[in-house]
Subunit: 303 residues, 2 copies
C-alpha cells in the first residue's frame, strides 16, 4: 500500500526545562512520514523548504525510504521556522517566533505517482490547501486530516468544507471542544462526526487518546513516562504510527483501528524522550514491539 | 469479610448547570459504604451526625445492610453541611459554604465488633483522626486512606505519619503532585509510595485512574458519559466499589486490584448520572456487570 503525506517541513528552535535545540528538524509532514516509515515503504512526502534546508535532513528522510519527489525546494527561499518554549509542566508552551518563509505560499503539487496513494494524511496546514490536495488525489481508501485551533477560529468555513471530505479527523481535546462548540467530549465527538469524518481521534496528551467510530469508543492510555524531554511533534508522530500500521495491513476494521491507535501511542511515547526526531532516528522494531506489549499490560484486565 | 468505613456524613447543597439539590445525603463515609454494599454485607460505618439528620437517610443506609452502630448522633447538634456550585465544565467547583457543626469535634470511636474488620477505609478526614482509627483496629489486611489538598497543605506532618501506616492511598492527580512536590505523575507516585503505601491510586476525573503497585502500573479509562449530572462523591463512590469488590473476593493480587479499579470506575460512572446518591439507590447488579463489560470493550485490544 502507498501513503501520501502532505504538511509542513520546518526547522524548530525549542526550549524545554531540560535544554535547547536550534533549527532542529520539525514539521508535521516530517514527523508523520518518519513515524509511518517504521511500518511501510511506499511513502511520498509533499511539502516545501528553502535552499537553506540542511542536506543531512534530506538524507535522513530519504534514508527512511521516504519519496521526496514532492518536496519543493525553493531556490533562495528560507525554510519555515518555528520557535517555542515549553513550560515546566510540558503541557503548555509559548510560541516565541513563527517565520512562515516559503511555507507562506505553499502550493501542494502531488507528483503523478503519489496521486494513486491508497492512504492520504493531510497534516496541519490551511484547510483550503488540504482541499487542494483532495482535488488532486484519485481514489484514496482513507483520508486523514489534522487541524488546529488556529484554523478553527481563523478559517472555520473552509475547514467545514474540508471536513466533509475527510474520513478520519485527528484533533486534540481542546480543539475538539472548540470545533464542536460543546464541552462534553462524547457529545463533541458526535457533532464533529456529523460534519463528515466517520472516524475521529481525540488526542489528550498525557491522558492518552480516544477513538470514536459510528458505534464504538476506544480509550487508549498514554504510556506513563518519567521523563518527557520534548513534546514537539508527539501528535504527528502518533498519526504517523497510526497510519503506518493501518496502511501496512490495509484493513480498517475496529480491531485494526484499535491496534493502530496503540502503535501510534507507542511511537509518540518514544518521540518525546528526546529532542525533535532524535529518538526516531535509532528506534528499533524490537523496541516498538516491546512497548506495544507494555501498553497491553498497562490497560488490560481479566473478566 | 468485613469492612470498616470511617469518614464524613453530610448534607450537601449542590448547584450544577443542570439543577440544584438542597440538603442531599453526602459525605465520604456515606458514598464509600453505599457503593461497597453492592458487593458485600458486613460493612460498619463510623461517623457523626446531628439530631437533624433525616431518618430517611438512616433508613436508606440501614436498608443497604450497613451497620450504623458507629454512627454517633449528637442530640441537639447539627449535621455537617457543605454547599458548592459546579462550573459549566463540571471539573471545577466553588465551595459556597462549609458548616462543620458536629463534625468539628468528631472523635471516631470504633465499635468493638468493627475493630476486627479485615478491610479499613479511612475517608477524607483529618489525618490525626485517621491515625486514631488505626490505633483502635486490630489487624486489618488492608488499610486504605483518602486525603485532600486541605490536609496536604494544612496538616502535612500528621499526614506523613498517617501515610506510614497506610497500605493504599487514594488521591487525585493534582493532590498527588502537591503531596510529592513533583509534577511528573510517575515520579510523584514513586515518592508517595516511599512515604508508606505499597499501592497507590491516582484519580484523574474524566481521564480515569492510575493504579501503581511496587512493580506495575495499570491505567483505567473513565467511562465516556454524555451527561454528567453531579460529580459530588465520585471519588468516594469509586473507592467504595473498589474496596467492596476486593473485600468480597478477599484477594489482593494484581488481577483483583485491576478488576477492583474497574468496578470502582463503574460505580462512580453511575453515581454522577444523578444528584447525590440517587443513582445508587436503584442501581442493579445487572447494570454493574453490563457497564463492567463496556469498560472492557472500551479499553481492550488484541495482540
Amino acid at each position: 500500500m502507498s501513503l501520501l503525506v502532505v504538511g509542513s517541513v520546518a526547522l524548530d528552535t525549542i526550549e524545554t526545562p531540560f535544554g535547547k535545540a536550534d533549527d532542529a528538524l520539525g514539521g508535521s509532514a516530517t514527523f508523520i512520514s518518519a513515524a509511518a516509515s517504521f511500518f511501510m515503504k511506499d511513502i511520498s512526502l509533499v511539502g516545501v523548504v528553502g535552499s537553506d534546508f540542511p542536506k543531512e535532513h534530506i538524507a535522513f528522510l530519504a534514508g527512511k525510504g521516504i519519496n521526496l519527489d514532492g518536496l519543493q525546494i525553493i531556490e533562495g527561499g528560507k525554510t519555515f521556522r518555528w520557535s517555542g518554549r515549553y513550560h515546566f509542566d510540558l503541557n503548555t508552551r509559548d510560541t516565541l517566533d513563527t517565520q512562515l518563509n516559503v511555507f507562506e505560499n505553499f502550493n501542494p503539487i502531488i507528483p503523478e505517482a503519489a496521486k494513486n496513494a491508497e492512504y492520504v494524511v493531510l497534516g496541519n496546514i490551511h484547510p483550503a490547501l488540504q482541499l487542494q490536495v483532495l482535488d488532486q488525489v484519485k481514489n484514496p481508501k482513507l483520508v486523514i486530516a489534522d487541524t488546529m485551533n488556529f484554523w478553527i477560529s481563523g478559517a472555520y468555513d473552509q475547514l467545514v468544507k474540508t471536513l466533509a471530505r475527510v474520513d478520519l479527523l485527528s484533533i486534540n481535546d481542546s480543539e475538539a471542544r472548540e470545533l464542536a462548540k460543546e464541552h462534553n467530549l462524547v457529545k463533541a465527538a458526535r457533532k464533529i462526526m456529523e460534519m463528515g469524518p466517520h472516524t475521529l481521534i481525540i488526542k489528550k496528551g498525557e491522558h492518552g487518546a480516544l477513538l470514536f467510530t459510528s458505534d464504538s469508543i476506544f480509550s487508549a492510555p498514554a504510556y506513563p513516562l518519567e521523563d518527557i524531554f520534548d513534546p514537539t511533534g508527539a501528535g504527528d508522530t502518533f498519526m504517523g504510527g497510526f497510519i503506518g500500521y493501518l496502511a501496512k495491513h490495509d484493513k480498517l476494521d475496529l480491531d485494526h483501528l484499535k491496534r493502530a491507535v496503540i502503535y501510534g501511542s507507542t511511537l509518540a511515547s518514544y518521540s518525546v524522550e528526546k529532542f525533535s526526531l532524535e529518538r526516531l532516528q535509532n528506534l528499533t522494531s524490537k523496541e516498538i514491539e516491546s512497548r506495544y506489549r507494555q501498553f497491553k499490560n498497562l490497560s488490560q484486565f481479566e473478566e
